[in-house]
Amino acid sequence: MNSLILLLILMFGGALFAFILNKFVPALRDIFVVLLMLGVSYLFFSTGISNRLNFDVLGIHMQWGFTSASYLFGIIVVVLGSLALIYSTAYMKGKDRLGYFYMNFLFSIGAMLGILMSRDLISLFFFWEIMTWSSYFIVIYSGNDVDRRGLKYMIFSAIGAYSMLMAIVIVNSFIGSFLLEDVFASIFAIGSGYQIAIAILLMIGFGVKSAMMPLHVWAPRAYSESPMSYTAVFSGALSKMGVFGFALVLFNLVSTQNWLINEVVAWLAAITSVLATFYAVIQSDAKKLLAYSSIAQIGYIIIGLASNTYLGVMAGLFLAVLHAVFKSTLFMAVGAVERQVGTTDMTKISGLIRRMPWTFVATLISIIALAGLPPLGGFVGKWMLYEALITSGHYYLVIMVFLSSTAAFLYSYRILFGMFLGQEEPEFAHVKEAPLSMLIPMLILSGISVLSGSHPGFILEPIQSAMASFGFQSNLPHESWWELTVLFNTWGDKVALVNVLTSIVGVFLIALAFITIKGYKNQRYVTTKDISSSGEIIQPEDNMTFQIDFYKPFERAIWPLLKRKIDDYYTDFGKGLEALFDFVRRFYNGNGQFYAIYVMAFLALLLIAGTKYFGF
């Protein structure tokens, strides 16, 4: 059997089997899902990119197979999927409806693989929708206010998916084929109005999943209230499907004459990243903070893709991979805190560093990567992005990106400090470090983050072949655009990253050792309430944790920007529609005689119109 089919059968069949297994032998469920995922990963890595599968359904020709581009995203999916499932076994312990959870988890991973292996639009849409509803079922799995949150996600996904479908059928009506190759080959032969419409419709579809600006309102709640083990995949891999789609559209379906589309997308992405960053800063819940941060980060990625330069695209894809790594680590870490402490409210938690040191390490590394500080990968990615934008003359975009990545420091700091540093509250004294099966995935991912800083080449290599399959040939002055441990820039300077990394880590370690040895004897633990030495009497309701009002000035400064949420417009629009629908309902007024009158009136109308206009 073709390994592609085997992959899908294993995924979907395994999902159903996990559901049934949970009904009868719940003890074996965890082992089964992890082994299944590992098996699928093995199968995935043993499947080459040359494998093609052609078949017909209902007279529609379909083709499956990985390209090097989709293979890149596939790696993200299977790696994150496996780690998140391992993490889940501990994280989800003791929750109910686990069969349901794992079934939909596996469904969505299988659907993502399906999307990536589709070489035609119909199977792409097919798996896209499976991904949508399976992720939806996990979004509504837990948390409160399920109705609104779930519906919002579903409505936006549906709008996105259906505008995609519209584009797909329009494309087919012109080209007569759903195969991506055929579509790419002949898209520019059709009228330019339709061309733009198709690109826009497709991008609405992908924009919803990647939470682009006016379509992002579902994302914060959906990310933050799903189980964290799934959010790691949701934000890490599932949103990358939108990025993947953007890449397909921007590189293949938008002709160079329509450069305006690229500009608009880049600007929307920039606005997304700035606003989402601002929102992230004012959140006091770590999960929501990370959710907004995800939206912002995907903004950078899309700016990179839309810059339409070799370096920019490379930066975008690099950031995409990196974001998958560090953001899922962060979600896992927050999930670990949530599980061990019971809350993720940063105004309540503090000083967990002694209780959960390994979680802290993972968080610290990821935060460094997120904030784009050297020596980790985030710096490399941002560097490339800035360079690409500057060399292509997008100075205003650079300002936007700079603004948002600077503001990102604020929330990076907050999450680190709010949860792990500061004084230790006595109520958290009993907190223990997360179990091993949660720590290992986090630490593995942190390790990847570290490597991405020192050896970006191992990520850039598959990216380069992916870009070749997207149609970007390296036509730039340097033969080799990267080396394993060295990043060049356009001006030909070399930055030896390993040296940078080792020196920074060395300094860090020395400083740490110094501080620890020096300060060990002198330190005394006080709780946040214990400031009686200043002579003030603290009331119990006064929470003196310092992160509470720290961001007030900033919040006040940006408030005019955030005052009117886009969400409110959607809500008003929905309310208006509902009122309209209620009005339509009055047609059926319950009086049978009226229905008969409608019939007669309709007949009379038809007779007049029919004899006049239908040409009888």
């Binding site: 009158i597 007669m600 009136a601 007949l603 009379a604 007779l607 007049i608 004899t611």
Partner: protein, 238 residues
């Protein structure tokens, strides 16, 4: 008032078109249609003098089967709609007062005559105007007469359902027999006899008799169900 005006307007429009269309159909003209074929074939091949009967029972016998079914369903449906659990000690009485002696005796005299007339009408359905439906309706009027003149006249619903079922099955089985004999459904398989003879027309006569029985039984049952439920105490039920 607006509503009434609106209805007038609609009906005026629809009426205009119906009049317009109907006035284009020439009146009293002998048009070429399938009727000519029937007029040609039914005396010569089927030996049925009443062409309408030939059409109803043979050429378009399938319609008639459907029609009988519609009646059967109406009876069944009506019984199901009117169905009501009987309260304890409740009696099947249709009216508070008995009708006058004159009516009672008059209906006693009329009853057998009407039944006879009905039977005549459906037995001679293939010879003269009339047939199973008409005969059945006449018989049902006889029972209606009895029902309104005698307060305690009982219709035995069990018998009615037997008659209904057997008559219906006879109709369908006659049709299926044709199929079994290698002909088509409802095709005549009996000798057709002589024109204008009582025993002519093959299965047509038999079918019409069955239809007569069925219609008579169904209508009687229907009338009885409606009358029984039309009592003041039944109206109280919510």
């Amino acid at each position: 008032m607006m509503k009434r005006f609106f209805i007038f307007l609609i009906l005026a429009i629809v009426g205009y078109y119906i009049v317009d269309v109907v006035s284009q159909i020439p009146f009293g003209e002998n048009r070429v249609n399938v009727g000519d074929y029937y007029l040609d074939k039914s005396p010569s091949e089927l030996k049925v003098s009443n062409t309408v009967t030939a059409i109803v029972v043979n050429y378009r016998g399938f319609d008639t089967l459907g029609e009988v079914t519609v009646l059967f369903l109406a009876a069944t449906g009506l019984a199901s709609i009117m169905f009501r659990r009987k309260r304890k000690g409740e009696k099947d009485i249709r009216a508070k007062k008995a009708s006058s002696r004159i009516i009672q005796i008059g209906s006693q005299i009329l009853f057998p005559i009407i039944i006879l007339l009905g039977a005549y009408v459906f037995i001679h359905g293939h010879l003269s105007p009339g047939g199973g439906f008409q005969g059945g309706v006449i018989i049902a009027t006889a029972s209606l007469l009895m029902l309104i003149s005698y307060r305690k006249f009982k219709v035995n619903h069990s018998t009615i359902s037997w008659i209904e079922s057997i008559a219906g099955i006879v109709f369908v089985l006659l049709g299926v027999t044709g199929l079994i004999l290698g002909k088509t459904f409802l095709e005549n398989f009996l000798p057709t006899g002589e024109l204008n003879n009582l025993l002519s027309g093959g299965i047509i006569g038999i079918i019409y008799v069955a239809v007569g029985f069925k219609v008579a039984a169904e209508l009687t049952g229907l009338i009885d169900t409606l009358l029984l439920n039309n009592r003041p105490e039944a109206n109280k039920e919510k």
